[in-house]
Amino acid sequence: MDKLILPKDKIPGLIRGIINKYQVYAPVNNDGITLFRQIKDPSKINLDFSNSKVPPKELLFKQTETLFKFIPGKSGKINPIDIPDEKTVIFGIRPCDAKSLAILDNIFKGDYEDPYYLTKRKNTVLVGLSCTQPDVNCFCTSFDDSPVSAEYVDVLFTDIGEKYYVEVKNDKGRQLIKNMNKLFTSANEKDEKKKKEVEKKSVDIITRHMSIDGVVDKLDKIFDNSLWKAIATKCLGCGVCTYLCPTCHCFDIQDENTLTEGARVRVWDSCMNPEYTLHASGYNPRPERMNRVRNRVYHKYNYYPKNYDIVACVGCGRCIENCPVNIDIIDVISQVKGVKH
């Protein structure tokens, strides 16, 4: 781990240097909402944000991805496409969203490797930005993570006042700033201490807490409990939680074509739709909203952990923030803990 300092006024120069060699995605203000978009001009970057509305997973697991092209019909002509492999930088990703990419990696790797996601993942450098002002619904600390963690990024920037404390974790990160070393100076003990103070301040701002001790086992026991019906009665099945969740990975595959040409595309889908599991025969294993709401909670806190030993939630709080009827996952899990069994 290299520990460096970058004065704040050097950021535009750094970005310009990086843009020469990489595609750069950074948080921008899109009509009042922060989103990760490609930038060619460092002045477009907006670092005054808590977190982006749509998580940066949309840059690697694109909402609409063309798998291949074809000529529709029975003459079977497939035109494979080149999977984009440009060197990319996501600048300003929060530690929680970076962790979500590690969670998504497990899904897209495995026996069948997904080239669309993995090619982009391999060619993307994650430059994280520590949270100094966690939002009201942030709870990454509940998973023993920290708003200033460098664990899942290649480089981490932490704002320590007039300058950034920069941690370069690996070769991918070193390669990124290779030609701009003169912008950086070495960090000293005082700087390190400042980072620890920033961490403490940040962690203290986070007040909401989800107790996940034993949640996998408890969920095993209460599958048929009436609490799922009670929660689902409020739920509108709107799906906003799934579209904004950094660990959600469900998708649909559709053939989209005119009479003469077409493409097979992969698009985000939501398990909250009734049609999500609808069989052609009309049978639906999850016919009620209760089944779907329960399935979502179980997938994050029971099914995924059973397969990969880690809870599929990073505590970003987007689902809580955006649910139109205030279904609060922290409250749900606390209800789960409270069920007498």
């Binding site: 497939i78 053939d255 889908d269 049978y283």
Partner: protein
């Protein structure tokens, strides 16, 4: 294997055969891979499935109903039910489809060597069982008794009529066909498949039972098998779900933490009993 698991190989329809006519028609398609290497090297075990696509319509997950002992082609049996299957039914020999696979787990044909086998099927559920039956018949000396119990709504709805006729002639296979309702000229059993099972009364001693068909049939077949003395790990079934990717990524076919496309579609009753999740 393709580097890209979403991209199918091209396969030509060599032959189509109508198994059942009418509203829920069933057709078997014989598919031959265009690429010579794929054609020679595509292997699978009974129970495994393939994603078959018609470009411009979509993809469906079908059990490969031919046996791996039959080389250079695969067969899938398709019931006409929705958008893609209806379009597939309009296809003729010479048309080109996309195929990717084989996906899923298989029946434990190696572990079951030396055992007696009972296969109980209904309707289109016979498709994966057909692969298994033909595999066992082609390796007949490796297995014990073979009882094939199959039922359909009426004699017209019986799939694989010709093959059943051939099987009935064999002395080393016991075939027990049934139809749901009385019919002129039908001299075999009349009644539901689970009832026929009780009549056949297979012994659970050193026996494996595999059942596949409509969910309601599976429920009662399993009930009756348990009554006959079969234990939970002697009973196997295959499940189906709406599927899109077939490789355990799109998330929709899960039962609890298992994906039917990847950890199934073959499950033992013991497994199914112990897993929480809608199915």
């Amino acid at each position: 294997m393709n580097k890209n698991p979403y991209q199918p190989w091209l396969a030509t329809i060599d032959d189509t055969r109508e198994e059942v006519a009418g509203e829920r028609a069933i057709k078997t398609f014989k598919l031959v891979f265009q690429d010579e290497d794929v054609k020679k090297n595509f292997t699978f075990l009974p129970g495994q499935c393939a994603m078959v696509s018609l470009f411009g319509e979509g993809e469906c997950f079908f059990a490969i109903s031919s046996s791996p002992t039959q080389k250079d082609f695969i067969e899938v049996s398709v019931m006409k039910l929705g958008k893609v299957t209806s379009a597939l039914h309009d296809c003729e020999p010479g048309d080109i489809l996309g195929v990717r696979g084989p996906y899923g787990n298989s029946f434990d044909v190696d572990v079951w060597q030396g055992k007696n086998l009972v296969f109980i099927g209904g309707g289109i559920g016979q498709a994966p069982l057909r692969s298994l039956i033909n595999y066992v018949v082609d390796n007949r000396e490796k297995y014990g008794n073979l009882d094939v119990i199959y039922g359909a709504r009426s004699s017209k709805d019986i799939s694989y009529k010709k093959e059943f006729a051939e099987l009935e002639k064999r002395k080393d296979v016991n075939v027990h066909l049934s139809i749901d309702v009385e019919e002129d000229g039908w001299k075999k059993f009349v009644g539901f498949v689970p009832t026929n099972l009780l009549k056949v009364k297979p012994s659970p001693k050193n026996t494996i039972a595999v059942t596949c068909g409509p969910p309601i049939m599976i429920k009662f077949v399993i009930q009756n098998l348990l009554e006959l003395g079969f234990t939970e790990d002697q009973i196997f079934t295959t499940l189906e779900m709406r599927m899109k990717c077939g490789i355990g990524k799109c998330g929709r076919c899960n039962i609890g933490n298992l994906y039917v496309c990847k950890d199934g579609p073959v499950f033992s009753y013991k497994q199914l009993k112990n897993i929480q999740g809608e199915r």
